[in-house]
Amino acid sequence: MATARFIAGVAVLTLVITVAVLWVLPSSTDYSPANPRWNGLQVIAREYGLVGIRSLDALPPDPNTVLVVLPSSPPTRAETDRLRVFLAGGGTLVVMDDFGPGNAVLQGLGVAARFSGQPLADGLFNSRSAHLPRIVDFIPSPITEGVGQLVLNHATVISPLGDLRAVALSSPVSYLDTNGSGRRDGGEPAGPFPVVALGRVGGGSLVLISDSSLLLNAVLRLGDNRLLARNIFRLAGERSRILLDEVHLPHQPLDRAKAVLRAGREIVSLPLLTFILTVVALAIPLMSLDRPARR
């Protein structure tokens, strides 16, 4: 009996500590809204109440909604159909990609614009490194109002533009570092290149940014990146809802564990279950009080 109690105690304690550690331990996954480190999205998620969606089925065709897609895995046909419906409903879709499968999203949407996939570098206008180019040329547009400079982080360029309009261009001394030398060599294409584009697609607004890192905690505070993000989110109105596509983000086991815990908390926070748990929590000490004391 004592051994069984001991084992049960250890199991319960282990479970409680594990749950507590998993709950408290911050995520370190790239682009995770729960990640407070440099490569997470916690800052923007908190500032704009970014809501992560785990299925594009939940996407409302609402003109006051902005969906941010940072694709790390290609979308399915059904998912791109959902995105088309979302755009047709007047929504604002922001696709941020550099070397990921962003072109699969654009292809699915029937848009001619593409991310070139070649690394953009600038030896003169940058933040420390040529692969962190500083963008200083802007064309007046609703999303570049007040923006004086942007800092990208291992970005590419948008080429071709299709029907979209370039609103931010890299400097004339920027180049595509096709051989990865970190220096402009003869034959490498030279700028300016479009890095942010905007257009109306199927009744909605489409924003392309040729850098998946612009919203990261450490990158958001550079230049006027935060202002660009604010302007983009305001495309859908002052009280817009900002959604983040978490379906195509990278996931670590910790994120999956946290998701399970969050789901558990949601179930537990249902009124009926909360009531039952409260009653049980009150009943146990009352029952032990009623038990005769041992001499």
Binding site: I17, T18, P142, L254
Partner: protein, 544 residues
């Protein structure tokens, strides 16, 4: 000790197990080899490439040497945003300032030559001569500045080791081209100085200058999606023979019109889907032979106007009941016809639409919701149909008389009153159950004084008997009753001197009366009185 070890072992085991689970969830699978998508900006290696400066300076010099002075100056100023090695910042700053001054001198000389030519054509040769004399001094300064620029460029070339780069590298090629453009600028300066010597040479020189084109766009004011926007401007070239060129006008990169030089005006219906915010309006006249090109830019601010919504609400309403709301939505762009109206009061929602005049009238069914009572807020949102109108809304206040609350109150208040009266009448028999817990304070400051007693409730009698007995025993045994001493401690001390079975039993009775939930009854009181008498005898005889 054994317990402590066991506990430590248990904790270590639990922490180890938890750690293993947590570590398992944070471990990252080995990533496939792919291109770096980002790096920590704070940890990025600083590697500016100052040889790119020559590419930048070449662009600036080309603009300055082709009479695009303003663009050239802006290009030089843009270098403030460049990332440079700290040891070159000062040099690049100086070079930038020199280039800006040189650009200003070139622009001023160009303007003065043209003015001098106009003065001479008007027969005002004396004034033209004075202007040329002034310009000559200015151009000498430009010559000196040019030498400083050449020195600074040479210094920069030495520091960046540009000549060590391969001949086909873009930076090296830009440096060599920059030297050639600089030579052309110097030749232009020299020619200008020579031409400024006399009016005839100046007139001849001015005749060789490229022909300017002036282009302006008026501020179009605010624009609204779906409405007409009129853009006006003017383009002129100061040439004896018209070039026959055209002004082209673009909005957001889309060509919206083409006009001959002179005043121009374009009207276009903006797309209803046009996004609110800044939009780029660009007019351009292309360069052609001696005729310089020109470009003018304006920002068009597209906005949606929020209509003013007027709402009339009744002063009060009933719940449940029907609340009639009236009002109208208008803006300076006209009435909001066919717009959707949504009126809300608590959980009640009613949608309708405005008529052609922008007026609306809605009957909002107020539900029998207990929360709706007193002064409540009615929200009316208007979603206009016109693309130039933004959604708008207004608030109204209505006093809600909740019939359900009134009915409940009229039933519940008498019922509660009746319950209260009933409880009052039955209250006597239940007083004991609601009595406060017993409070006992026993203070015995010294052997000389009898203990002071504060006690309430049914424990009073038993404890009184105990205190009296304790005083007797203390006096007989000579043991001081210390305030911090428990009943049991006093019993233990006194037992050795005055053993009394009665006092021992009385102590137990008193403990039960004071510390347990058990309330002493009549039997306990009687027993305590008997025991006190026996303690009195024991204390008198000094034995148990």
């Amino acid at each position: 000790m054994r317990h402590s070890f066991g506990l430590c072992g248990l904790l270590a085991g639990v922490i180890l197990l938890s750690g293993c689970v947590a570590a398992g969830t944070t471990s990252t699978p080995a990533p496939a080899r792919e291109r770096v998508r980002h790096e920590d900006p704070a940890a990025a290696a600083v590697d500016p490439d100052p040889t790119e400066l020559f590419v930048w300076y070449l662009d600036s010099a080309r603009l300055l040497s082709t009479w695009r002075f303003r663009e050239g100056r802006l290009r030089v100023q843009r270098l403030k945003l460049a990332t440079l090695p700290p040891e070159m910042e000062s040099l690049v700053g100086d070079l930038g300032r020199l280039l800006l001054k040189e650009g200003s001198i070139l622009e001023a000389a160009d303007g003065w030559f043209r003015d001098a030519a106009r003065l001479m054509a008007a027969g005002r040769s004396a004034e033209a001569g004075r202007l040329l004399a002034q310009m000559s001094a200015y151009l000498r300064r430009g010559d000196v500045l040019f030498s400083d620029i050449a020195d600074a460029v040479e210094d920069l070339a030495r520091r960046t080791r540009i000549r060590e780069l391969p001949p086909d590298s873009p930076q090296r090629q830009a440096y060599e081209e920059l030297l050639r453009v600089a030579a052309r600028v110097r030749a232009l300066l020299t020619a200008s100085r020579t031409a400024a010597i006399d009016t005839a040479s100046a007139a001849a020189f001015a005749g060789l200058l490229p022909i300017e084109t002036r282009l302006e766009i008026d501020d179009p004011g605010p624009a609204y999606p779906g409405r007409r926007l009129t853009i006006r401007g003017r383009a002129a070239e100061q040439a004896p023979i018209p070039s026959g060129r055209a002004v082209r006008l673009w909005l957001d990169g889309v060509l919206i019109g083409q006009f001959p030089l002179g005043p121009f005006s374009a009207s276009l219906d903006l797309s209803p889907a046009m996004l609110p915010g800044a939009h780029a309006l660009v007019a351009r006249v292309e360069a052609q032979g001696r005729y310089l090109g020109a470009e003018a830019r304006r920002m068009v601010t597209v906005t949606r106007l929020a209509p003013a919504v007027r709402l009339e609400t009744p002063r009060y309403g009933l719940a449940p009941g029907l609340l009639t709301l009236r009002g109208e939505a208008t803006s300076q762009l006209g009435r909001v016809g066919g717009g959707t109206i949504a009126a809300r009061l608590g959980p009640a929602l009613r949608e309708g639409s405005t008529d052609r005049e922008g007026r609306f009238s809605l009957g909002l069914a107020v539900p029998p919701d207990l929360n709706l009572v007193g002064l409540e807020t009615v929200t009316v949102d208007v979603r206009p149909r016109e693309p130039w109108h933004a959604p708008a809304g207004t608030l109204g206040r209505v006093f809600i008389i909740n019939l359900v609350s009134l009915a409940l109150a009229s039933f519940l208040l008498p019922a509660l009153g009746a319950v209260y009266v009933l409880r009052r009448s039955m209250g006597a028999g239940r007083v004991e159950e609601t009595r406060p817990p017993d409070v006992v304070t026993v203070l015995a400051p010294s052997r000389a004084e009898p203990p002071r007693l504060t006690v309430s409730g049914p424990a009073r009698t038993v404890v009184q008997f105990y205190v009296e007995a304790q005083y007797l025993i203390a006096r007989a045994s000579g043991i001081a009753i210390e305030p911090e001493m428990t009943m049991r401690e006093f019993l233990r001390h006194s037992r050795a001197v005055v053993p009394s079975a009665a006092f021992e039993e009385l102590t137990h009775l008193a403990e039960r009366a004071v510390y347990s939930a058990h309330r002493p009854g009549e039997a306990a009181h009687r027993r305590a009185a008997e025991l006190l008498e026996r303690v009195r005898e024991d204390a008198a005889h000094g034995h148990g």
